[in-house]
């Protein structure tokens, strides 16, 4: 799966949790999921679980805690799916 495909799938995963629709429409790699998209921090856990299922990867808690921007989420997914 290439970066664009990962990004598209990630967008679908985070969409239900987004509180700021405008920031979601203008999303870039630097978009912060908590600050910009105003996702409730408790929902980040759901996003991580959804990513693990969708991409068939395992994200450990330390890595998950570092995943703040959309770009970081894509980087982590890309790196972990190459290890599979």
């Amino acid at each position: 799966m290439n970066r664009t495909e990962i990004e598209e799938k990630l967008k679908e995963i985070i969409r239900p949790y987004v509180q700021n629709e405008e920031a979601f429409q203008n999303m870039t790699a630097d978009t912060d999921m908590l600050r910009d998209l105003q996702i409730n921090s408790a929902h980040l856990v759901d996003i991580i679980l959804d990513m693990e299922e969708e991409f068939d990867i395992e994200i450990d808690d330390t890595t998950a805690e570092k995943m703040l921007t959309v770009g970081e989420a894509i980087d982590i997914t890309e790196k972990l799916s190459q290890q599979e």
């Binding site: 409730n40 408790a42 991580i48 679980l49 998950a64």
Partner: protein, 146 residues
Amino acid sequence: MTDFTHILDQLPYDQPFLFVDKLHTLTEEGAEGAYTFTQNADFYRGHFKDNPITPGVILTECMAQIGLVCLGLFLLEQAGLKPSPLRIAFTESHVNFHKPVFPGETVRVRSEKVYWRMGKLKCRVIMYNAREEKVCSGELSGIIRS
């Protein structure tokens, strides 16, 4: 038989907002406990006028205290984590209400863990009345960490 008093002692609630009397079961996978609604609880004066019925928010709170918080305290203990200082927050509730609960009724709450990850506990929770009828059910989540 374990009475789980040590878990009840750690609950951060007190009257008039404690909605757990007893815990019957606590495992890594779920919890079961009971509560009897106080006949003359203050909220019955206004919900509803001359027609006391336990408010849905109170039923939800009761489900959360037994199903999420008691289970969460048990999971923290099993993981060897000290529950103090305890940080808890109720984050999500999706509940359907099926039957009214009147003053003095005893309910049984059963919760089943969906996941516990990074301090977030999500459970499927069902409340039954003394006639074993389903009173309300749904999914609740909260953050519980030390």
